[in-house]
Structures are given as C-alpha cells and as structure tokens.
C-alpha cells in the first residue's frame, strides 16, 4: 500500500514536469495553430544553460532564473528567424522546419558543450530527504519540483482566465482573424506566448537537471509525452494540460510499476517479463486513444 502511495507520488511529480513543458506547447499550438516540434530542444537548452550558469553565475538559483530568461530569449530569436515564416503554412511545413531545428540545435549543443552527458547538482537548500517508507528516502527536491509545477499552473490559469492578456490569448485561440481585425497586435501576442512557452520549457529543463542526465537529445522523449498530454487535455487549454499531465504521469508510472508485476503474477516464464514492459509502455497511448474516442477534442477543449 505504502509502495502504491510512493509510486503515485512519483507519477504526480513526473506529471508536473510534463505540465511545465506541455503548458507552453499547448498555448503555442492552441493560439498560433503552430506545431512546434522544437519545444523539446528548448527544454534541453534550458538544462545546458542551467549547468553553465550554475558553474559560473553562483549556483542553482541564479542559474534557474538566468537559464529560463535566456531560454525564453532564444525562443524569441528562433521565432524571429524561422518560426514566423511558418505561421499559416501547412502542418507538414511546420513539422519539417521545426524538425530541422531539433537536429541543428542538438548538434550546436554538442559543439558547445561536448557530447558527453553533464551533471547539474541539486541546490544545497533542497538536497535533504525524508523517510517515506522503510529503506527509502524521498528527496525534498522532488516535492519542490511538484510544488513549482502547481505554482506555475495557478499562475498561468490566473493570467489566462483573469487578465486582459489572457482574454486576448483565449480570443486569439478561437478566432485569430477577428481579434486581428479588432486592432489587436496579433504578432506581438504571438511573440509573448512564444517567449513564455520557451521560458517555461527552459525552466523545466533546469528543474529536471538534477534528476536526469543533461545530454544532447534529452528533450525528444519528453516532447512525445508532452504532445500526448496536450492532445488528451485539449489543445490550447491550460486546465486540460494540467489534468492530462497528472493523468499521463500517474498512468505511466503506476502502469510500469503495477502491470509488470501483474504480468509476472498471471503468467510465468520469460514471456511475462517481456509482456509487462511492452504493455506498460503502450498504456498512455491507449488512454489517449480512449479519450479521443469519447471526446475527440480532448478533455477540456479551448472553447470555440
């Protein structure tokens, strides 16, 4: 039982990391109708900048702020140079161009930081851990990461639902031309959304740094999960991204933990050891398919 609680906590915390990435992605996708595959490399960029700033700018906390800001700026530069020319083009053009950005940025990162994985140390203040079950200590840092996810969710929900900018974002998501015709600077709105999205991805990258290895290509795995999250949650919806991120985090973690054991219990022999992981890694896609079958626009579609 206690193991189940621990695994649920792990799942929730993975969900929060996913949310930080999916939040930016869903806004960009929802508001700008822009498929940005390069969102994952912005996460990677954040992690690498975090490593560099932590070493040269006085530790984890300054690095968190600086890396998020620089990642946001880098997103704006990419928007200016490349993405701007893709708005209104077909999805295929967008996918191809942003895929090119992935390859290019991965190689640039390799040239600058080398191909060996790097380490980002945990901040001193959060490196403690507490006893959760016998023999297992839970790092405070992971709880803090989940907390940061909730905080960002509340903040974003407030901005999107309660402020003028948020109103424009919502309006832009449902009818771009109309908002433009009313005299709103759509280009500026897009840049703002894009910059914030890139910043959140960079922020997530720094936060993930102490838990995972910082290496070229680290964003790609997470990107696929983030797309699953925004499809389940409904494109353009922050609330949807939050709920879906928690669902995906929980299903993925609990699925891996429980299904493999269930498969071993039900079946015997070497087949069971293979079947479990195979089914477990399919699980979130099955959930996605089920959600889409019932609600084709996701759980909380941005209202048209």
């Amino acid at each position: 039982m206690i193991l189940f609680v621990v695994q649920a906590l792990n799942g929730f915390q993975l969900g929060m990391l996913l949310f930080l990435i999916a939040a930016g992605l869903t806004l960009v996708f929802g508001v700008m109708k822009f498929v940005n595959l390069a969102h994952g490399v912005q996460y990677m960029l954040g992690a690498y900048l975090g490593v560099t700033f932590a070493a040269h700018a006085g530790g984890f906390w300054p690095a968190l702020v600086l890396a998020s800001v620089v990642a946001g700026l880098a997103g704006l530069v990419l928007e200016r140079l490349i993405f701007r020319h893709l708005y209104g083009r077909s999805e295929l053009d967008q996918v191809l161009a942003t895929f090119g950005v992935i390859i290019t940025l991965n190689e640039i990162v390799r040239v600058i930081w080398g191909s060996s994985p790097l380490e980002l140390a945990m901040p001193e203040g959060l490196s403690a851990s507490f006893q959760l079950m016998e023999g297992l200590r839970y790092p405070v840092y992971r709880v803090a990461l989940a907390g940061a996810g909730i905080l960002v969710a509340v903040l974003l929900a407030f901005v999107v639902n309660r402020t003028r900018v948020g109103m424009l974002i919502r309006a832009g998501a449902s009818n771009q031309e109309m908002v433009g015709a009313l005299g709103v600077d759509i280009g500026g709105l897009f840049r703002l959304v894009f910059g914030v999205g890139a910043m959140l991805a960079g922020f997530a990258g720094v936060l993930a740094g102490p838990l995972v290895s910082v290496e070229p290509g680290m964003g790609e795995n997470l990107l696929i999960l983030a797309f699953v999250v925004i499809v389940i949650g409904g494109v353009g919806s922050i609330r949807g991204a939050f709920v879906a991120a928690v669902i995906v985090g929980l299903v993925d973690t609990l699925g891996r933990a429980m299904i493999t054991d269930a498969a071993k219990a039900l079946l015997s022999g070497p087949a069971s050891a293979r079947l479990g992981p195979a089914v477990a890694s399919m699980l979130i896609y099955l959930v996605m398919a089920a959600v889409l079958a019932v609600r084709p626009t996701g759980l909380f579609p941005a209202r048209a």
Partner: protein, 387 residues
C-alpha cells in the same frame, strides 16, 4: 539528414581518392569505423582516441609501415555503416577495419568487410553470433564476448553469498542478454527481473520497488543516460545499504555526469584505469594528457588493438594468411596484463570487479577491487570450428 549523409560520403570518397593518389607502395590501410554522432558518441570517441594514441606512441606506424588512416562515423545506424564501408572498400582495399562500438553495426558490416579481404578487428562489440558456430578466420575481437562482463557480477554475487538479487536492464535484446549473463553464474534467488524502456528518464519507480523488495544485492545494466539517472536517483533515495553491481553503468564515460553519487558502485570489467602493469602505466597517463579525460574500457581496448596490429605486421608483413597466424599469437603487451585469443578469436582474459572511487585530483574512476574470473573462456567458444 540526407544532406549530411551525402556530404559525409562525398568527403569520404574525396579523402579516399586523395589517399590513393599519394599512396606509397608499402603502407598499411586502416579504417576505424565508430559512432561519432548521437547520444552514444562519447563511446565512439573513446575508441577513436584510444586507437589514435596507440598509433601516435608507435610513431604513426604499425609494424614499421606508414599508416593511411580513415575514420568513418557509423552514426549507430547499420544501413549507414554498410553504405559508407562499402563505398570505401570499393574505392580502396583496406588491410584492417577496426570497429564498431555497437553489436548491431557489427552484424551489418561483418560480411562486407571480411569478404573484401580485410581483417575486421572489433575493439568493443562482442556479439555471440560470431563466437560460436559462425566464427570467422578474418574476425578478431579485442574486447570480450558480450555475455562475459555481466557474468562477472553474477559470479561475484554468488561468491559473496548474496541470496536475493534485484536485476534491471533496458527492454531490448542486449538488455535481456545482460540479465541472462548475470543469471548464468548467479546461484541465489532473483526476486525481480525488471525491464525498462530504453528512453525512460525517471528511475524513481524502480528504485521504490527495490526499497520495497529489500534484496541483498542489485544488478543493473543501464548504459548511457539510463544509468546516469539511476545512479543519481538511487543515491538521492538513500539506498546506501544495498550494494549495486553493474555493467556499463558506472564507467569513465558516464562518471563525470554522475558525480559523487556514483562513489561506491561496483562494475564488472576487464580493465580499469588504475590497473597495475607496465603497459597501462604508459597508456593511462598519456591518454589523459592528450585528451583531457579519463579513459574507459573502450579506449583501453582500442589502444590494445593498435598494439596487436603492430605486433602482427612486425612479425608477418602484409600477407593475409601470415598476418592471421601472427594476430592469433597476440604477441603484444596488453594494458590488461594477460591477454590471449581463444580458438574463436575472442579474448581469453581475466575479469575483475571494480569500484568507483574519487582520485586525489577530484576526478572519478573505477578501481580494481578483486579478480573474479581467471582466463575466462566465453561459453560459445566450444562450438567454433575454425576452418
């Protein structure tokens, strides 16, 4: 993507043409094919650097002959590797092809290379396929047969009397081979045999299962980023009381990213930087001086490969059949101390358990703890009938 491949090939062909133009009558044509792009590039770079150092210390010559060296990036894609190696072999016959890092690539390039009349010398990949019935007179492996490093941990766990083991590997063929390798010499009970997706980032779920199962020992084969994540998170979870045996999880290629969290982890291996023999005392410091990082087994095995070829060419010249006889003798000073070839051209060597420790200069390395297997012959060698 396509463009980079094409550009690479054009550059390669041009280099080959240039080489052919200026070639002397008596020179040795050697190609290193290894992985130099993608997440696994650090391993491929170790192979390239280890071989380069071997060549440099021999004055740029092998067996007294000047060397025309070509380096190919296989991109860890079997199809790309075959295309590139074929293009090279068709434009210019090679005496030796050295590589690759990964078994999937080896399986792909084996036929094109050996049928061209070149020797294929594998400084890392030790596929079981070519160790048994399908062993080949033109293939030499200077690393190990893939099962062996994993079985070291199994033997050690048995020797130590660990009764309950929790074992983890990625969910693909090499992962299953690794766990079978461990089990082949482990006599205790395997309480859980877990396979994780190759791209999994968070190992917290497996770590919670380990804490709950309370095994006597953990064995993991988690290469690259998987291992880095596992090692960091294992320490963060405070599971210090359960020893972790491993293969390719804590080695010099991943230690810089794992940091102090890796101290105390065990690794089954055939070599470590602190190994005490004359050849290694030359190799290890020279490598760090030249490349500014601590070498792992990949580099050591590639360095040995250069010296193996040197010894054979010195004794036999460039005649293919005489060279084979000379290679089989393995008459060189290995950085591993004792080294000889079995009937299947795979090494017969000692295996050790190493432990991660911090050196006086603050860098991390694995250090030999104890010898686990002596003159170990791989389990497939008996099936090999060399023609």
């Amino acid at each position: 993507m396509l463009k980079t491949v094409l550009a690479g090939q054009i550059a390669l062909v041009m280099a080959a043409v240039a080489l052919a133009g200026g070639a002397e009558a008596q020179s040795l044509k050697v190609t290193v094919i290894t992985t130099l792009t993608g997440p696994q590039a650090p391993l491929g770079e170790q192979i390239r650097d280890g071989f380069q150092l071997g060549l440099d210390t021999l004055g740029g010559k092998l067996g007294g002959l000047p060397v025309e060296l070509t380096i190919i990036d296989d991109e860890l894609k079997p199809d790309v590797a075959v295309t590139k190696i074929r293009a090279l072999l068709e434009s210019q016959k090679q005496d030796f092809v050295i590589g690759p890092v990964f078994s999937v690539v080896k399986a792909a390039i084996f036929k094109p290379v050996t049928s061209s009349g070149a020797f294929l010398i594998s400084p890392n990949a030790g596929l079981s396929t070519f160790a048994g019935k399908a062993c080949s007179p033109d293939l030499f492996v200077t690393s190990y047969q893939n099962d062996q490093p994993h079985s070291v941990s199994g033997q050690f766990a048995t020797d130590k009397g660990y009764k309950r083991a929790f074992i983890i590997a990625p969910n693909y063929q090499a992962g299953r081979d690794a766990l079978n390798g461990f089990k082949s010499r482990y006599k205790g009970e395997v309480v859980s045999e877990d396979y994780v997706p190759l791209n999994q980032m968070d190992m917290q779920s497996e770590i919670a299962k380990i804490a709950s199962a309370k095994p006597d020992v953990v064995f993991v084969f988690l290469p690259g980023g998987l291992g880095i994540n596992f090692v960091k998170q294992y320490r963060q979870a405070g599971l210090t009381n359960i020893p972790v045996l491993s293969t390719f999880t804590v080695d010099e290629s991943t230690l810089p990213a794992e940091g102090d969290a890796a101290i105390g982890f065990y690794s089954g291996t055939n070599w470590a930087p602190n190994m005490d023999n004359a050849a290694n005392k030359v190799f290890e410091p020279a490598f760090e001086k030249k490349f500014s990082y601590v070498p792992a087994t990949y580099a050591a095995q590639a360095f040995d490969t250069a010296n193996l070829i040197d010894s054979a060419v010195k004794a036999a010249g460039t005649d293919h059949d005489k060279l084979r006889k000379a290679l089989e003798k393995a008459d060189f000073a290995s950085v591993r101390g004792s080294f000889k070839f079995g009937v299947n051209h795979y090494p017969v060597q000692d295996f050790y358990l190493a432990k991660v420790a911090k050196r006086a200069d603050g860098k991390l390395q694995t250090e030999i703890l104890s010898k686990v297997l002596s003159n170990d012959v791989d389990p497939y060698a008996a099936e090999c009938k060399m023609p």
